[in-house]
Amino acid sequence: MDKEASFVTVSQVNGYLKTVIEGIADFRHLTVKGEISNFKRYSNAAYFDLKDDKSVLPCVMWSDSLFYLSFQPKDGDEVLATGSVQVYQPKGRYQLYVNALDLFGQGAELLRLEDLKKKLTAEGLFEEGRKRPIAEFPSVIGLIVGDGSAAEADLIKNIQRRWPLVDIVVFPSLVQGAVAPKDLLRAFNLSQMPEHKLSTLIFARGGGSSEDLGAFNDESLVRAVSKSRIPTISAVGHEVDFTLLDFVVDKRVSTPTAAAEAATPDQLDIKQRLDELSVSLDGAIGGVVEQLLNELGDLSSRPFFKGPETMYAAASEEVDGLRKRLDLALGNVLEMKRANLSMVNEHLDALNPYGVLKRGYSITKRKDGSIVKSVGDVSKDEVIESRFADGIITSKVQ
């Protein structure tokens, strides 16, 4: 090489590199698996890195490709990026020009879940209108929980503390792993048997990764629960974790304790309510009695009760008058009768044989009471009685 030709320009290097790299057939179309980081979106393109545990690969995605994305890429997403490796000559930088981006693994699972959710939503399974009220005073509560799990213990403790009148029936089930969806469905079907007389059915499981909660996203389970005979409550995972079961149950809460609260009244509240009702009842009956007393008071303050005499004064006067008239009338009648009587009496006197005696006559009777009318009626020594107007003379016949 002569001096003239002893160097090349930067552009020549980058250009050469571009030719070599882009000449590799495998780089023209390839799919790379990696995790997104430093995702930045601009109006015409998105720039991000794909990385694994050792390396980083810069990526570019033009807006026309971004338009077809089925999800919003963000840092941490596991993806499969399809495109070509090319060199950006001005910077001497090779990059993956991405045409298509798909979520991978858990991300893909989430996407599948989104699709399932959309489908079930469209079918109306998650509609608010389908939600039934949870029994306020349950008699039997069913629990679908991991056998011996913390969720089970928590539920039983809190249910019994709040509403000891309730019976609890536990339907143990696997709550994670490949078999869990089937086992949950089996437990659910058991709970539907009328013999258990459930008022409320609770699904509960403590928190876990989203893979752990996957069983509660099972389509068959969600469809079955949508037809539950019994109002259902879910308490699966934590506040932030939503499963499809949460959308289909009648009530969703975030913890087993909250499920116990949603499923039962608090006996302390009920006791307080009883006290209040008792007080209300006392007050009400007091009101009734008081009202009656007031009425009574009104009545007793009326003139009749205040001074009863005033009420019958008039009547009394009238009676008095009548009595006087009656007295008078009676007096007159008596007077008349009396006058009459004395007149009759005088007549009688005139007829009275004893009246004649007053004029000097006398009547003589024998001992046997017979009147002596002739001298022949008596014999010698016989004792006779002569009655005069003013007395009797006893004499002996000679």
Partner: protein
């Protein structure tokens, strides 16, 4: 199956509410109000006692992991 169902706690509580409302309306004859009052007070005692008694009672707890009958 004409067996008469025993009234539940809920039924009794509802009846108590009804009684309080009726007595509060103050439209009933005194005798009726007094009768309702007696009934209401008895219900309060009964419901209170139900709760108090339940304290000692431990809810039935069954484990059913298999279909017992097919």
């Amino acid at each position: 199956m004409a067996e008469k169902k025993e009234k539940t706690f809920e039924d009794k509580l509802a009846r108590l509410h009804e009684i309080v409302e009726k007595v509060e309306s103050e439209t009933l004859p005194l005798e009726d109000s007094m009768k309702l009052y007696e009934e209401g007070k008895a219900l309060v005692v009964e419901l209170d006692k139900t709760l108090a008694d339940a304290k000692a009672k431990i809810g039935k707890y069954k484990v059913i992991s298999e279909l017992k009958s097919k």
